[in-house]
Symmetry: C2
Subunit: 332 residues, 2 copies
């Protein structure tokens, strides 16, 4: 198989090259990939910022394609079927949290930025029929993360007033789309007016530029505060989110791109009966529920731009620059 391999020795840190394929095990399937999509995780791996990096590994967690070979003990899938891949490995049986063995496809095991991939047959699901290959590949990791954050951890309710921060991000966009389809009143935040406008186009009620000093006052006066906030930034701005929460509100954090907060308004948390809830990726149950929801609501992921697989460096540079709105897709 041929794919985008992490290579410490190159200036770009990646190389498009042949990798030795292991023989198919009895419980596995081989998939000819039709499309893959990027996540920040891939760029962090390239920058050496992800824990436990192995070099020589094909990057990529998101992919969709056609089954080209089926292991001896796999009875429920056939060659030729169109599938998407759940990139969460070894979650375990506890819906509350992943097991210690938890991994994500694309590090330390070979990923989806390739022409083919071998995965355990329990990782594949029928590709939603209303989605193109590009859209199907865009869905798994970010869709799963958003769905668990919003539904299982965030316990979203119809008519909740919801704030999704950093709407430029893939998880944020799925969270906003899912929340709208759940019947919530959705607001977004971003440092980019363009991205806020894009979010209004797909059904958000309003947006706030978090670079503006008085955005919390504006948000409070416009909305009266939020029942649920979905955030991937953490850092000191977490205290702004505490400020714009309604009493009894929930703040779900699924990342910390802004690092650890250097203070926390504890009094506001207990006096306002707030919940700060951590979430990451999702269980098999979350993935199935997400997929059912996408199928039921005929939801389409937002695509930013499509690259050829050999142009992965350009695609990763675009992700690093952070100007994208929607998923960046790669076609082998």
């Amino acid at each position: 198989m041929k794919g985008i391999v992490l290579d410490r020795s190159l200036p770009s840190k990646i190389d498009f090259r042949e990798v030795e394929e292991k023989p198919l095990l009895d419980h596995q399937v081989k998939i000819t990939l039709k499309a893959a999509a990027l996540n920040h995780r891939d760029e962090w791996c390239r920058q050496g910022l992800y824990p436990n990096i192995s070099y020589g590994i094909i990057l990529g967690s998101d992919g969709a394609g056609i089954i080209s070979e089926v292991g001896k003990r796999v009875s429920n899938w056939k060659v030729g079927e169109e599938v998407i891949i759940n990139p969460a490995l070894f979650w375990g049986n506890d819906q509350k949290a992943q097991s210690k063995d938890f991994q994500i496809i694309g590090m330390p095991t070979h990923g989806t930025l390739a022409n083919t991939i071998i995965v355990s047959s329990d990782r594949i699901h029928s590709k939603p029929k209303h989605l193109s290959w590009e859209e199907a590949a865009a869905l798994p990791l970010a869709g799963l993360t958003a769905f668990r954050a919003l539904v299982y951890q965030g316990n979203i309710q119809e008519n909740d007033r919801v704030l999704i921060t950093g709407i430029g991000g893939g998880v944020a966009q799925f969270a906003a789309q899912f929340a709208i389809k759940k019947g919530a009143e959705v607001y977004v935040s971003s440092s980019s007016t363009e991205k806020i406008e894009k979010a209004l186009e797909f059904g958000s009620k309003g947006g706030f530029n978090y670079r503006e000093k008085n955005w919390t006052e504006e948000a409070l006066s416009k909305t009266g505060g939020f029942d649920l906030i979905i955030d991937g930034a953490s850092g000191d701005p977490l205290n702004d989110l505490i400020k714009v929460s309604r009493p009894g509100g929930r703040i779900v954090i699924y990342g910390a791109t802004r690092g650890n907060p250097e203070k926390l308004e504890a009094r506001r948390i207990f006096w306002n009966q707030l919940k700060i809830i951590g979430s990451t990726m999702g269980s098999d149950q979350d993935f199935q529920a997400m997929l059912d929801f996408v199928n039921q609501k005929k939801l389409h992921p937002i695509i930013d731009q499509v690259f050829q697989l050999e142009d992965a460096e350009k695609a990763l540079d675009r992700m690093k620059a952070g100007s994208q709105m929607g998923k960046i897709v790669l076609i082998p």
Copy 2:
């Protein structure tokens, strides 16, 4: 009526004196108090550390006594009935959080450190028959706070491994007692070996001295981590609580005696799927549920020491010193 009045002009800041009684309104009852109990709130009021302090007010949130007069529109209570008082005023109809009008008896309205008190009839409940007057007076504020933190916000489950921090505190003791009766495996923490031993006597499984540097490692190796932690301290030690939480665990904070944390391990929160949940006091629904539970389980509050009402200064000094284990009770 005569009671312990907050008086800025005195060195002790309190005075035992006569206060003009207002006429009984139609929806109110007058209670001849048989016992009252202290909370940290009373001492903070004395020290001028509580928000919106009014001088000339009788302190005290906890009390039990006998109805001595009934307002014209009160049909469900009779003179001579034995009652305890729910000190939470104007919570409102939302179980998730208190309304903006929320108050606590004993500031800014006259409290229970008195021979009599007038309250709205919807604030009184029959005194649990298995409790002495001292025990009944010890129950309301701390019991309510503990019950909401543990049950409604903390969602305690049978067999949960629970840590109650600062077991010297009244709320902590109720939380530990309730958690044990809920079938949880309860551990406590304190800076005092004596208090930990006392907690073992009433059914806790183990205890940790949080002054010892390696207490988190000890707790993790002994217990494998906690499903639920109930904490009134916040501050930087909150990060220790994050550390000793099991994946998917809940940390309920009902106070911040250690102030705001100056950092927060956000990555650990989202990666371990933790919940940090604020809680304060409780709704009327929480109070009723707490009272039902205390009656059903025949639970007895822990009493530290009983003082005469006129010795309130000594009683408050004992609370300030922090060496008590159990509620400090005052008898008019």
